[in-house]
Amino acid sequence: MKLKQLEGLLGDLQQFSNPKVELEQYPTGPHIASRMLFTAENSYGDITDKVVADFGCGCGTLSAAAALLDAACVIGFDIDPQSLETATLNAEELEVEIDFVQCDVTKLELKGQVVGTVVMNPPFGTRKKGADMEFLSAAMKVASQAVYSLHKTSTREHIKRAALRDFNAKSAEVICELRYDLPKLYKFHKRKEVDIAVDLWRFEPRQN
């Protein structure tokens, strides 16, 4: 599948109808989502024929991208039942199979080594402090092959240190820097739209 085609399909997905600010629900735009998964597969072979988990899947944009790039199995995890309903509709619309699990990923302990790759656009920790690190910690425990995650560029040094020292990472690389365009979603947003500098990270866990 070509990048443009993937981006097009992801652009048609339904997004949050009633975003919950305390969960930091922001849609992952088709531009970022397509590039993130396309790179994961084309540069690293981490998606096709692999078991991919999407932590904090929301409406399932990253899950859908993984499925469209022929992951062998995609599982989306999220705490919010309404988002999961939308995610289910999106999967049906695209005619892809995605399993969804309602849970708090930071408290879930997944057994075994079934999951190869974790992809995620986690909360940045603006509402619940440390949420970004909790998600990363959880992902590193689950993935046997690689973790792809988005974090604010301003946290780059902190993330690298934590990943290598505390979260069992063999490597922690910023693949690229992206501009995350956030439209005015919540009442407290003053500007019509704002660009946040985010890093696309690839972490490799140490083998047990």
Partner: protein, 163 residues
């Protein structure tokens, strides 16, 4: 929810020692065909909990999987019969309505429209209390992974004793 997902879920209620595998109460099961990928299945076979899969498949009405995990020769052989059964059990059976039950506490995690709800109630969540022996501090609740990391050397998991 397919059985490949079930194979990784366990009960995380505090104090539970053996929350895996979750028993399945199946009320509605549907079958959806997907493409057969023998290489993927061979690769996956080594990673799944076999007994859990056999039991789960049985609860969903599929009893074709052998009780004992087959050895490597069966997997590597060109004969696809076994892999087809594995494929069907792992990827084509969907639990739409029912529940996943903790083998130790009996707690039911409902499954609706194919989505299991694994959210724990407030009193079911593990709390880890850390005591910083170096400074002789009062025991503190961990609030974030960063706190846990700083106290890593002296951390004691008192989850069983915390009320």
């Amino acid at each position: 929810m397919r059985l490949i997902t079930h194979n990784m879920l366990s009960c995380n209620i505090k104090g539970v020692k053996n929350g895996f595998p979750l028993k399945i109460e199946a009320e509605k099961v549907i079958e959806k065909e997907v493409d057969f990928n023998p290489d993927f299945l061979r690769h996956m076979f080594a990673k799944i909990e076999w007994k859990a899969l056999v039991e789960a498949a049985r609860s969903m009405g599929y009893a074709e999987l052998p009780e004992d995990s087959p050895d490597a020769t069966v997997i590597e052989s060109a004969d696809e019969t076994f892999l087809r059964k594995l494929h069907h059990a792992l990827l084509e059976l969907h639990l739409e309505e029912g529940a996943l039950v903790c083998p130790e506490t009996g707690r039911k995690f409902p499954v609706n429209k194919g989505i299991p709800n694994m959210l724990l109630h407030e009193d079911e969540v593990k709390q880890t209390v850390c005591i910083d022996l170096r400074k002789g501090n009062e025991p503190t609740r961990i609030r974030s992974p960063k706190d846990r990391v700083l106290m890593q050397d002296v951390c004691i998991d008192l989850s069983l004793q915390v009320p």
